[in-house]
Symmetry: C2
Subunit: 372 residues, 2 copies
Amino acid sequence: MTLRVGVIGGGQLARMMIAPAVELGLDIRVLAEAEGMSAQLAASAVGDYRDLETVRAFASTVDVVTFDHEHVPQTVLRALVDDGVAVHPGPDALQFAQDKLVMREKLAELGVPQPDWAAVSDSAALQAFIDDHGGKAVVKTPRGGYDGKGVRVVRNADEAADWFLDSGDALLVEELVSFSRELAQQIARRPSGQMVAYPVVETVQRDGVCAEVFAPAPGAGERLSQMAESIGRQIAEGLGVTGMLAVELFETDDERILVNELAMRPHNSGHWSQDGAVTGQFEQHLRAVADLPLGDPTPRADWSVMVNILGGPAQGAFEDCFDAAMTEHPDAKIHIYGKAARPGRKVGHVNTTGDDLDDAVYTARAAATHFA
Amino acid sequence: MTLRVGVIGGGQLARMMIAPAVELGLDIRVLAEAEGMSAQLAASAVGDYRDLETVRAFASTVDVVTFDHEHVPQTVLRALVDDGVAVHPGPDALQFAQDKLVMREKLAELGVPQPDWAAVSDSAALQAFIDDHGGKAVVKTPRGGYDGKGVRVVRNADEAADWFLDSGDALLVEELVSFSRELAQQIARRPSGQMVAYPVVETVQRDGVCAEVFAPAPGAGERLSQMAESIGRQIAEGLGVTGMLAVELFETDDERILVNELAMRPHNSGHWSQDGAVTGQFEQHLRAVADLPLGDPTPRADWSVMVNILGGPAQGAFEDCFDAAMTEHPDAKIHIYGKAARPGRKVGHVNTTGDDLDDAVYTARAAATHFA
């Protein structure tokens, strides 16, 4: 019988699971938030992922449930597990991706290197942390943030006063790390425990959104690569992650690496692997959550580059963009998400590979520029 | 607006267009022969491709019509063109893939090297051809053959008597070429005329069915490669092919190459390119029929190998096959068509790449063996 994988959420991450699912012969079904979502082609149901009965009905049509995002409530996840549904990653792991305070506590317990942090329940505690850390800090809402939302650099506790009023819960405050660059480490882990690691990559963020990725991270020596992989494996195992794990890292001027954020799903920092690795992260995620043996994560070229397409043209102009990008860059791999363009919104990306990093960067940027 | 590509026929070739269509942001819709076909995920209609009104209704929902097979009748194709539908490849080109006698006549007119052939309308004419060619010949029904069906090696005209009785039409008879091996040349061509060529590959047939492909053809020097590419380009242009063209070739002991068969769609001999070329043949076919600029056909590795999975396990055992194949060969790219297994039926294939041909062949064969 064909293995049926159910994906909750109809965004581009679910969409990009369709290609490898079809090629592997898996039956992929998506619970989409609405009609016309990015993963529409595989949508077998439309409904609210916060509603247990909606999710339960969807889960009953598949063999394993996984996710396009980390927003399905714990109550829903735990009810599914109680029903006997295979949920990957499971609620015990997902809580660490859903709540950044819980994540920081767990990483501290594991002894993983991370920025100084504290849970602060009022302005006085926040101000004290700021004062202790050179007059500035990063405040984060523990839940619901993404792509720079729910994150603020503050110099004064007043700048987070609205968040204290809104939630009443504690906020996470972290030291503002003086980093030389940002890295990301991808790990895949099966329920049975098998793990594979992708090479550590460099990510470039603009306005809190991932803009470019270079794989492997240029200049990353044996020591840095092993440190990143080791942190990734420790987190995947320590948190019981199943599927893909992305660990976002700061590399500091003094050559330390500190954990910034976690994602338990295919992640923007791993899109390069679709065209740049023997096994792309979307195929790997499917293998991992379906508890199939993991694929080879080895890069297929010396260098892979990913450049996001943000915003994008008005509807109707995509054909012109295609024409120019494809004519000038026949070797660029263009991935389009089928989403309406809004300024700054991720609507696609371009992957390139090659033995010269500068060439690969040039081609990816030039091709992506045609869509901007 | 999203470009909508309609594929007539729901087999594995249509299925394998789904992945690149989704990644390119194209809207792919399939007119399937029945429910549960290989390309089910993209099926937007089910119906008989020989029925004009069925095909016409389907065509009205897309921007361009292409094919999983070459069996749509000329009357239907020509009516679509008269309706103003973009049909690629069009009826003028497809007639040469639909009727082997028409193809032989056209190739003769173009001066393309091919085996000796004749149209024979009765046993006496067939026997005369056999007698003139060393006492044996290949008889083919001009229409409807595939995977070795409709092809017979005969030593006596009586062996084709049933075909004369059945059809009343002329049969195609060809000299039995003493070939050293079989090759295939893939060309992509846009309506605007742009063409790109893949490297010539070696194909190994068993019982008339493609079993293995080595890309590029081992030992193929500059001369052979250029000859094959030149024949491919001449046919694509001379026959007005749009989309992918596969030219099956015999290489003779005296280093000639002769055209055996043509296919105007992605072809089994090009499956290696999914994982082995910068632009796979399914993406290339979509680009070509949508009149988008063609992608780079350059190989991504020194060697690529494709091994078909024929027959396959009883339903229910696929998971065990996966487990063994993936555990032992994490670098093998496994493609499964979602079709019920029958002895000898193509149900999937395995692609491998590498800098050592023997290793790539070993891995592809070993992985495929787990499914047989």
